[in-house]
């Protein structure tokens, strides 16, 4: 098992493509940070115009914590794509490259291979999130300094004291890791069906986009299914920036995503075990 995992990780991290994701994250984060450095005040003035009419807020509003929130807000829509790039390629890429048949003529069980593909995708996801934390959170703190964080929700204004923010980010990153792991398991499932990697990557994103739209459509028709869509729960990390933190709702979201992950993984193992390798 460990040997197989080591090999999977070796393959992932020996491949130049893997680092593109880290590069993309760095680039997007830097772009947002630079934009905020040069024009953050007017952006903030625009966003907070409603609040500023009534309240006099002084101090370093545009601090590292707020910038990180803006970064996460924009990036956590894109990270599923980066996760899908690796997880969607995990089995389909091997099939397309012709290495899957060579791999499966070795004395390893298919279930173990799927599990290790999942585990290696998970580790990749964790590293991606850690990297996001480093460049996003610590980079922004370095550039903008710490401070009390203002979280503007569509229905409330939440202010969090500086000393009360870091743990929320840690929990948010942990939650984001779970959300991205669900995406990874979906991409892996689609990867098992396909013999080329573009299909599962595009399908994963397609599914995420479509379900996200369903999650956000405010139609009574969708209200009943919304709680069962994993995209509804993917943004549960934001709950950690509420006061009080809605642990019950976050826990439910985490449970839903965990169940989705288990179901996707089990379906992958079930299907892949029965699949004829014709590639």
């Amino acid at each position: 098992m460990i040997q197989l995992l080591k090999i999977e990780l070796y393959k992932i991290f020996k491949r130049p493509r893997t680092y593109i994701s880290f590069g993309i994250i760095t680039a997007i984060v830097l772009v947002i940070q630079l934009a905020m450095l040069s024009d953050g005040k007017s952006f903030l003035g625009f966003v907070m115009s409603g609040v500023n009419e009534q309240f006099d807020i002084q101090g370093n509003v545009l601090n590292g914590y707020l910038v990180t929130y803006i970064i996460l807000q924009s990036l956590l829509i894109h990270i599923p794509l980066l996760v899908a790039l690796v997880a969607g390629d995990a089995l389909a890429g091997e099939a397309a490259g012709g290495t899957l048949r060579l791999l499966l003529t070795k004395p390893i069980s298919r279930a173990k291979l799927v599990l290790m593909k999942f585990t290696s995708s998970f580790i990749y996801t964790v590293l991606l999130i850690i990297w996001l934390a480093i460049v996003g959170l610590f980079g922004s703190l370095l550039l903008f300094g710490p401070g009390d964080m203002i979280n503007l929700k569509s229905d409330a204004f939440v202010m969090l004291l500086q000393h009360d923010v870091m743990w929320r980010y840690m929990m948010a990153f942990l939650f984001a890791t779970l959300a991205m792991t669900t995406i990874a398991s979906l991409a892996l499932l689609l990867s098992a069906f396909a013999d080329n990697s573009i299909g599962p990557i595009v399908s994963t994103m397609g599914i995420v986009v479509v379900i996200t739209i369903l999650s956000n459509l405010e139609l009574p028709l969708f209200d009943k299914i919304k709680p069962f869509l994993f995209t509804t729960h993917m943004i549960g990390w934001k709950g950690f920036f509420d006061d009080p933190v809605p642990y019950g709702a976050i826990g439910f979201s985490a449970l839903v995503m965990f169940l989705y992950t288990v179901v996707f993984l089990a379906a992958t193992i079930f299907y892949f075990n029965k699949k004829d390798i014709k590639s």
Binding site: V47, G50, N60, I70, L152, L161, S253
Partner: protein, 238 residues
């Protein structure tokens, strides 16, 4: 029209109170003099802002005040947040300045203390304040409660509790209740999806009116009084 209405209200109040205006006048001016002896102060405060749809934790900081109307909360690197009002939320600012008409409005009991109620109407009808109602502990010459109706900011009420700074008429604890207009958070750029999964359950009966009451509670831990504060302290800083 508003002025006529004000005069009519005053006439009615005077007619119904039956108490001599002269005593109330004296009381008010004496109190105002006492309050105005504090030219400036710096106070360590704990502030709790409780306004609908605003979740703000208790803020620790230093409150700077300079007579007549400068106020600033400084939070040692943290954010300071205060409602933006045309009048500052200080006792001296909530008492009308200049010549006033004072009406005795009877007495009441607050926390077991008998208090005199007076109503103060500024003669300057261009000022922000239209009417102030004060609950006065005559024995200690302290204002325990105010209710100020302003031109633009609705009614601002203040409940005060005094302790060791009573001689300066500086409270240990103040609860300010005021009208807060509904404010808009622009959807789409509020860094939030419209449907965060764990929305805290809302009271379905809670139908938001245009204007709501908000409260600010300030605990004054210590004061440094009349040591002089430069005006620069109150300049807008980022």
């Amino acid at each position: 029209m508003r002025k006529l209405l004000g005069i009519w209200v005053v006439c009615m109040l005077v007619a119904t109170s039956g108490i001599k205006a002269g005593e109330a006048d004296k009381l008010f001016y004496a109190l105002r003099t006492k309050v105005l002896t504090v030219k400036d102060y710096t106070a360590d405060v704990r502030m709790k802002i409780d306004i609908n749809r605003m979740k703000i934790p208790q803020l620790k900081g230093t409150l700077f005040f300079k007579s007549p109307n400068k106020m600033r909360l400084e939070r040692h690197g943290g954010l300071s947040i205060l409602p933006k009002k045309n009048i500052n939320l200080t006792l001296s600012n909530l008492m009308p300045a200049g010549n006033v008409t004072v009406i005795d409005a009877g007495s009441a009991v607050i926390d077991g203390k008998k208090v005199r109620i007076i109503k103060v109407i500024p003669e300057d009808d261009m000022g922000q304040i239209i009417l102030s109602k004060l609950w006065i502990d005559e024995a200690n010459m302290l204002i325990l409660k105010t209710e100020t109706t302003s031109r633009n900011d609705g009614t601002i009420a203040m409940d005060l509790t005094f302790g060791k700074y009573a001689s300066y008429a500086l409270p240990d604890h103040v609860t300010i209740t005021m009208d807060v207009k509904d404010y808009k958070l622009p959807k789409g750029i509020t860094m939030d999806y419209n449907d965060t999964p764990p929305p805290p359950p809302k009271d379905p009966k809670e139908k938001k009116p245009k204007t709501q009451k908000g409260t600010i509670q300030i605990n004054y831990l210590s004061y440094t009084i009349n040591k002089g504060i430069p005006d620069a302290k109150f300049a807008d800083k980022e």
